[in-house]
Symmetry: C2
Subunit: 272 residues, 2 copies
């Protein structure tokens, strides 16, 4: 098999990264994908940088051993703390979700005041704040962790009044009046976008990384002449580290379609 026919590897701590995968499928329908959800160790957002980096390397190596032409880290926490370690350890190109999301937000903000919300791990890493400062040093950035958003989304309560109440608790009155953009800095959050938008009103543009990541992947494949030929049938594989039942059931909300053929894989760690 020539390199361009290999699939794109995508991993996340669990199901949130399916919002990124959905966008990859839409924007690059000819590309095959293998999605690995590390459901035996989810969530990453409350764990330390050391532990998340270890898990990210386990996941990435499993995908690279299988054969992928490019790796997408479809998890904000892992992108925030482990991207460099992944780039050092792997010999395939690696795309995280932080840089593309930050560039998109910097491009769309008129006022130059931008908010970013994410997990504890993502926000305390300062990765969005640094990425935004690199692309547009004049930006004013407000950052905040919203730990209950992930379990709310996983409970399937995105349309429930409680989703809006929790969003109000975290977000009401928090952004400066001149802010015009909010980065949804966690791949789970797009499913809560309606509740968040109701709290923040129409003056705030919500940015999620998914379409920016897909555009970045497209550019990297083009630069390396790795685009799949459009006639090929694209692989769609789903791997999980815990039994598939819950992934299939809850993942549907995130992928926006049925998930078929989920396979249990083993990322048991080597003693270190």
């Amino acid at each position: 098999m020539s390199r361009d026919e290999l699939p794109i590897g995508v991993f996340d701590s669990g199901i949130g990264g399916l919002t990124v995968l959905r966008q990859l499928h839409r924007q690059l329908p000819a590309e095959g994908t293998i999605y690995l959800g590390d459901t035996a160790r989810v969530p990453y957002g409350t764990k330390s940088a050391q532990v998340v980096t270890r898990y990210a390397l386990n996941n990435a190596r499993l995908l690279v051993q299988r054969g992928v032409k490019l790796l997408v880290v479809a998890c904000n926490t892992a992108s925030a703390v482990a991207l460099e370690a992944l780039e050092d350890a792997l010999d395939v190109p690696v795309v995280g979700v932080i840089e593309p999301g930050a560039r998109r937000a910097a491009a769309v903000s008129g006022s130059g005041v931008v908010g970013v919300i994410g997990t504890e791990g993502t926000i305390t890493s300062g990765s969005y704040q640094q990425a935004l400062a690199r692309v547009r040093p004049d930006l004013v950035v407000q950052a905040r962790a919203c730990p209950l958003f992930v379990p709310l989304a996983e409970e399937g309560w995105q349309g429930h009044p409680l989703a809006e109440q929790v969003a109000r608790e975290y977000l009401q009155g928090w952004l400066r009046p001149d802010a015009d953009t909010l980065i949804l800095g966690c791949t789970h959050y797009p499913v809560l976008a309606d509740a968040i938008a109701r709290v923040l009103g129409t003056g705030i543009r919500l940015v999620d990384s998914a379409s920016a990541v897909a555009a970045e992947v497209e550019k990297m494949l083009d630069n390396r002449q790795l685009r799949a030929s459009s006639g090929a049938t694209a692989t769609r594989e789903y791997w999980v580290t815990d039994v598939p039942e819950r992934f299939r059931r809850v993942g549907r909300i995130f992928l926006d379609e049925e998930i078929a053929g989920v396979r249990l894989v083993d990322v048991a760690e080597q003693p270190h």
Copy 2:
């Protein structure tokens, strides 16, 4: 060191088990304890029986290697799915939280109608339902998973109006009118007891396993002549599998005192 001078080993997926540890310290102040919180792999409640059993065996072996005279599984999910595997694999006595809690509830219920709430893993295992049927076959049992309670408690929102709203969502109108007892079948839930009680009213007695577990431990130590001599200084050790900062900060709410001297340990799995 003679066997009775060894500490009691206690493990949980993270911090919830500290509500059980607190009760052990109160009822058995002369006993030393080592508490292991598996914070690198928390939570267990949404994971499968296979994965939780694997993690429980990792944790237990680490404590047994260190030397403990008895093991307390201070996690409802692990007690529900892994107790038998632990008893088979270890040569120290093992106490879970399900049986003691079920016996206590069966003893206090006048009407014979009992509710039990817990994580997805605990409730779908049917362990409480089976334990209650064993001790009192005439009981009517209603069981329900409340997945948002753990993240709410970990966020420290136990006194927030949202805690009561989430409790209302899960519990209002759910119990039969003749129910008189509710088992808090997750070691996180005692910190939410006030919110739960406000929703259910004064007619429902809340039962948590902690004091029943401490009584069971006391009985087993007596039977085996393993009680520590009261003159000894009791060890208090805390081990975690992810960096201690969050454990220390959030754990205070659960232990109801400051947590000193937390140590990072490694339970990396052997390839299997």
